[in-house]
Symmetry: D2
Subunit: 120 residues, 4 copies
């Protein structure tokens, strides 16, 4: 998935604000579902992030065209873990591991088959 | 209401990103209710912005302490209009007029008495 | 320009947060330059928004695919005014008029020819 | 440091968007300096986040009043590590470990004495 860096993503340091890499990664995760005509969010059922481990290697700046990757590295009944990278011209700027739990009515719930099948 | 300018509010121009003045103003509007122990948002009933007119006079920068004012200038059955200013040390940086409609189930609805009373 | 609505754009009302339409419009304005291999921002020279008039007609929601239009309606030596719409499936959700001033060292400055030519 | 949850912080799931806890933590870190009349950002010198480990335990919602803590757990010549919690009524909703490097002209640099003294 491609992401362009706009004003809203940058801060006074001249670089992308650190929390915004998490936005980029979330867009890429949602896109996996959108591309199959599905949604990761269905009224009272959706994924929530439970754990993040992130490394900031180099800074993205205004006007950059970034690529966001998304790889499933663990699949459980009610949670998944993704490894994601943010790259610019093939160079890795950011890596993150995101554990997501599936909730129904705000309680952990088995991930529906049609959602988990998206990853295969 | 006082608002501090953090990294998240700024952009690569070194100033507060233009959409974020609208965030500051929304905080001040919500605060009117919070200060009375009320909420502007109750499940399927809430205000939505219908019209904005905004003037950007001077730029706020990182670390600024801003004051946000909020004045009711029109009160109708299902909508209100607020005039708001963003100031730094008494100097006006931004002014905005915000028309808000009250919705119930996404349809225009009479503003409940307990909410409208907050302004008197 | 196409924009997808992600979690970050929505709020607890289930709709796109009102300030985020301004983000979408800014992305479309910057894109005019990016598409020509140019940048609207060059170290100490850039556009700032001076005036906004915005109408919120219908709400965008999570997963929506929006189209953002951008039309130059006034061109002066040191400022331009754009009219922009946010549409979903051809239906207008939002309209905005944005007056932008060009600054150099934070002072009004004649818009460089190569930038203004982008609009012709 | 106290933080109120506004519309801008929430998403369609009815909870605070996951990247926004990082914003809250950044505000608390900057506040450490602001409270001493200092700034963590001085033209070409500032901190950048290098590593984040975050656990999302419970969700914050609209109107919540949160408390953000900030504890220095490692101090090196050119980097510091902070442990931070986000609490609601004494209950921990989020914990994060943030490693920050000090940069001058975008290169690692010894943290100035007057900044590091803030933590003692």
């Amino acid at each position: 998935m491609k992401v362009r860096v706009y004003y809203e993503d940058t801060d006074v340091g001249g670089v992308v604000y650190y929390a915004n890499y998490l936005k980029f990664c979330e867009r890429a995760r949602s896109n996996i579902f959108f591309e199959k005509g599905m949604s990761p969010h269905n009224s009272d059922e959706f994924f929530v992030v439970k754990h993040v481990e992130a490394d900031y290697i180099k800074s993205a700046v205004f006007a950059d065209e970034l690529e966001i990757t998304c790889e499933l590295i663990e699949k459980r009944a009610a949670s998944i873990t993704m490894y994601q990278e943010v790259l610019r011209d093939g160079e890795v700027l950011f890596t993150g591991k995101f554990k997501l739990a599936y909730l129904k009515d705000f309680k952990p719930h088995r991930i529906p088959k049609e959602l988990i099948n998206v990853f295969s």
